[in-house]
Amino acid sequence: MNKLTRDTPVGTEPVEITLFVNGEERRIAVEPDVTLVDAIRDRLDMLGTKVGCAHGQCGACTVLINGERRYSCITLAVMHDGHHIQTIEGVEDNGQLHPLQQAFIDHDAFQCGFCTPGQIMSGLGLLREGHVQNEDDMREEMSGNLCRCAAYQHITAAIWEVHERQDEPGVRLSEQREELLAAGGRVR
């Protein structure tokens, strides 16, 4: 099968791409019309990332792409050849929950839990971006994640708690892990 290469047009048939998913190099074959979330769920069998709307309207499919939070339902897998994709499966560190995951438990920040992977990935993206000064900013910056159960008060409480502790070690996705990710290394 052909590897995707710059300036080499491909047809509608599958082409090989490489994704660094939670630090692990994964080669997969995808047709150009496969969205990133479908590649993650159906080709990589990683079901943590959810699909709520498939139209960029709910945030359930949020992942970090090269460290930035984005919706994986309105982007194509082929656009991310060689990119680092972080999903909810890669957030805990050697069996230890990330502080934001723990805060979701402590604040009872879910009911059905369907939106939770997206909320957590979005919260991690928000912490990395560093644009939030106060709780109002935080709510505005989290508006891209809907919760059908309306657990908003608890979700924002969890994120705010961790925001206020973000200089503690291990709160922003651990730096060591990030260096490895940036270098394209294996983490798991």
């Binding site: 019309d33 930035e68 939070r69 979005s122 971006e129 709510r139 989290m142 891209g144």
Partner: protein
């Protein structure tokens, strides 16, 4: 999704040549608009040209204080850029008023300008739509039209341009830089977007094989005192019902220069030039503001569900002018 071919263009020349070779192909930037429409079946291009490898991400403050923003700069990068925050607040505010953090991270400036209308009929291929399928009809004129235009409509189309950023750019007299095999050109934003007329499928003066490379904002004295105001159905992550971008320079208490542009009301950012004229040389007193409000909505044509936009636009103009008065 309808299957399509794909290429990652390595440079502008190859991107433009694929566009010529592959009939019906589309450029792909952040994909947040286009991939959504592909999955809905509203767009069915046979081929996509991914332009993300092109070196068009720089945001550069020129020596003369004009700002050049590469077409692939992300909406987030522009909105949080120090030169934009300090020199062109309306640009930052209008971008941050749109979509969500995740979309702004992915979306490009060029894609934002060329994003497709949110008209329900356009986006659902089971309906007729003159924009999607020329000649098939416009169900919005007699149908669900609460979000639709009140200015510059035609019997073929009453859709609005949904971009918040474009409204901010229109208040700043921005220019669009483009490139094609025929060369480069710069287009004033007001000339760039078209009204629907008899060809609602044609939304800008961009040619089929023309690439947006950058947006340029001239160094204007009024950009620093500028502001964006957006009315929508929920306080975040919703398209504008009506919005207003404004920028002003005062001399003493009176308006020396002013720009007002409205969003959510037309097929393009709608400059409120008559309202601007009524304000020049005057202090922002209530009587003056009232005249500007009336001028802003002169010529509006409403449909069954969107008459509220006339009132909303007037109030937005008033609120903007009140904000400006406090800055005087």
């Amino acid at each position: 999704m309808n299957p399509f071919g794909y290429v990652q263009a390595g440079n502008d020349v190859s991107a433009l040549s694929y566009k010529v070779q592959q009939a019906g192909s589309l450029f792909l930037a952040g994909g947040t608009c286009i991939v959504d429409l592909l999955t809905q079946g509203a767009l069915r291009p046979p081929f996509l040209i991914d332009i993300n490898a092109l070196p068009l991400r720089a945001i550069t403050l020129q020596d003369d204080n004009s700002l050049i923003i590469g077409a692939l700069a992300s909406n987030s990068a522009v909105a949080h850029h120090p030169s934009v925050l300090s020199g062109y607040p309306v640009l930052s505010e209008s971008i941050l008023a749109g979509a969500s953090a995740q979309i702004r991270n992915a979306a490009s400036i060029g894609g934002n300008l060329l994003q497709k209308t949110r008209c329900y009929y356009y986006r659902d291929p089971s309906f007729a739509c003159n924009k999607r399928t020329p000649g098939s009809g416009c169900p919005a004129i007699t149908g669900a039209n609460r979000m639709h235009a009140i200015f510059g409509t035609s019997e073929q189309c009453i859709a609005v341009h949904p971009s918040d950023m474009a409204v901010g750019l229109s208040a700043l007299d921005a220019a669009i830089h483009t490139e094609s095999s025929r060369g480069k050109r710069q287009i004033a934003i007001d000339d760039f977007f078209l009204l629907p007329g008899d060809t609602p499928d044609r939304e800008t003066i961009l040619e089929q094989d023309e690439l947006i490379t950058a947006v340029e904002i001239p160094a204007t004295p009024f950009a620093r005192k500028s502001n964006y105001l957006k009315v929508r159905d929920r306080s975040s992550y919703a398209f504008a019902l009506v919005s207003v971008a404004g920028a002003v320079v005062f001399e003493g208490n009176s308006v020396k220069e002013i720009r007002l542009s409205a969003g959510g009301v037309a097929h393009k950012p709608w400059r409120l030039q008559e309202a601007e004229q009524t304000l020049l040389g005057r202090a922002l007193e209530e009587g003056v503001i009232a005249r500007a409000m009336e001028s802003a909505v002169a010529g509006a044509k409403t449909y069954r569900q969107n008459a509220v936009k006339v009132d909303l636009l007037k109030r937005c103009v008033r609120l903007m002018l009140h904000r400006f008065r406090e800055m005087a």
